[in-house]
């Protein structure tokens, strides 16, 4: 039985799509630009623009092809956002059926407030907040990514905001108190400061840990640093000698 199954994945790899090899990551381009550059037409399956997939059935032609990231045009909510925020919304795309809105930093908090309270949106649950480091992208090294979910409308939306290294990002804790630890983690791992966060300190790593591990320049196998020198070094325990039994002292 074991041998039968082992045959399965040992099949020779499906012919690699040549376009993939050409398409190396261009982290300095936004997602829409990257995908635009792709050769269109190859078994391209247009992703459904609606976010909430009802009854997940796997994509019908399950062939490997380049992802089509499409501009969202027909979604009323996204249109409303575009209308309201105008140029601040730099990108509104759908990929794999998931909607992404990229917003400028200045309007980030306003957009989130709008999304939380507007009756068409009602994104009441902030599912996740994280960041991505793109070191090659000049002046926009970080993306803060927020996954929103609406329990009432049952839809998801991803908000992205680009930041330069050292820039402070507005904090969402006033809107969703659940983002408290998520922002602390982003600060811990990337060093992104969140403006308006009441208790911004490291959460997973020790307070005085040097560096921010999830930045790309941070090495993976990195053992000794100032922190380990300071805290993990063997040293004698300082006893309060007055408490040590006199007999023991004499015996020494």
């Amino acid at each position: 039985m074991a041998d039968d199954n082992k045959e399965l994945p040992a099949d020779k790899p499906i012919a690699e799509n040549e376009s993939d090899k050409k398409e190396e990551a261009k982290p300095d381009a936004t997602l829409a630009e990257r995908t635009e550059a792709k050769p269109e037409g190859e078994t391209a399956k247009p992703a459904p623009p609606k976010a909430a997939p009802t009854g997940h059935k796997p994509a019908p032609p399950a062939k490997k092809g380049p992802v089509v990231t499409v501009e969202i045009t027909d979604d009323p909510l996204i249109n409303k956002i575009k209308e309201k925020f105008g140029d601040a919304v730099t990108e509104a795309v759908a990929t794999f059926g998931q909607q992404i809105v990229r917003v400028k930093k200045n309007s980030y908090l306003d957009l989130c407030r709008f999304l939380q309270t507007d009756e068409d949106a009602l994104f009441d649950l902030c599912a996740d907040l994280t960041a991505i480091h793109w070191p090659e992208r000049k002046e926009e090294e970080f993306d803060v990514v927020v996954q929103l979910y609406s329990t009432q409308k049952n839809r998801r939306l991803r908000i992205k905001v680009a930041l330069a290294d050292g820039d402070a990002c507005p904090s969402l804790t006033a809107l969703w108190s659940g983002t408290d630890w998520m922002e602390r983690e982003a600060y811990d791992m990337f060093g992104i400061k969140f403006e308006g966060h009441k208790d911004l300190r490291r959460i997973l790593l020790p307070e005085d840990w040097p560096g921010h591990p999830l930045r790309k320049e941070y090495p993976v196998e990195y053992r000794d640093n100032e922190w380990t020198d300071k805290h993990l070094q063997y040293r004698e325990i300082d006893y309060d000698t007055s408490l040590i039994d006199v007999k023991y002292a004499e015996r020494r």
Binding site: A2, D3, K6, P9, A10
Partner: protein, 181 residues
Amino acid sequence: MAAVTTTGQKRSIGQIIKRLLLLDLIEGLFLTFKYNVRALYEPRDGGNPNQAIYTEQYPLERPRVSERFRGAPRLNLDPENGSTLCIACDLCALACPVDCIEVGSIRREVRDGEKVNKKKVLTTFIFDTSRCMFCNLCSEACPTDCLELTQSFELAVYHRSGFRWDREMLEKGINYVRYTK
């Protein structure tokens, strides 16, 4: 969507009487007493959830280990001539997420019948069981069914160095101390 509605309701008269007669506590006592009595007369059958006592007395009773269990690693030998099946392809080391495998090989001439081929030959094979997380990816990557995770699960040793299994240990297995009464 069924809502759980048993909480938040006012108590009925029946519940109040139940509470006065301590029945809520007594029914729990009955259950545990039932187990206690069953434990005294039922024959013990370790690992059977329908029996009163579930314990398997491990070192005395060997557990049933399933066929697919991923335990101690082993390098399989060719059953015909006793030479190793390993072709030193290094795929297992590449597949390992924790880098616990080191494959050492040299290229040398191997006589195969009449022909003389230049071939990669296994020299050393080091498997660090202290780092291994028994995910089976190495075994799945192995093209010759040489490296395999076996059913043996007692990997404790007295010294850290014992976790580094060399080729000999991998081929022959280690000697376990079997504890008996």
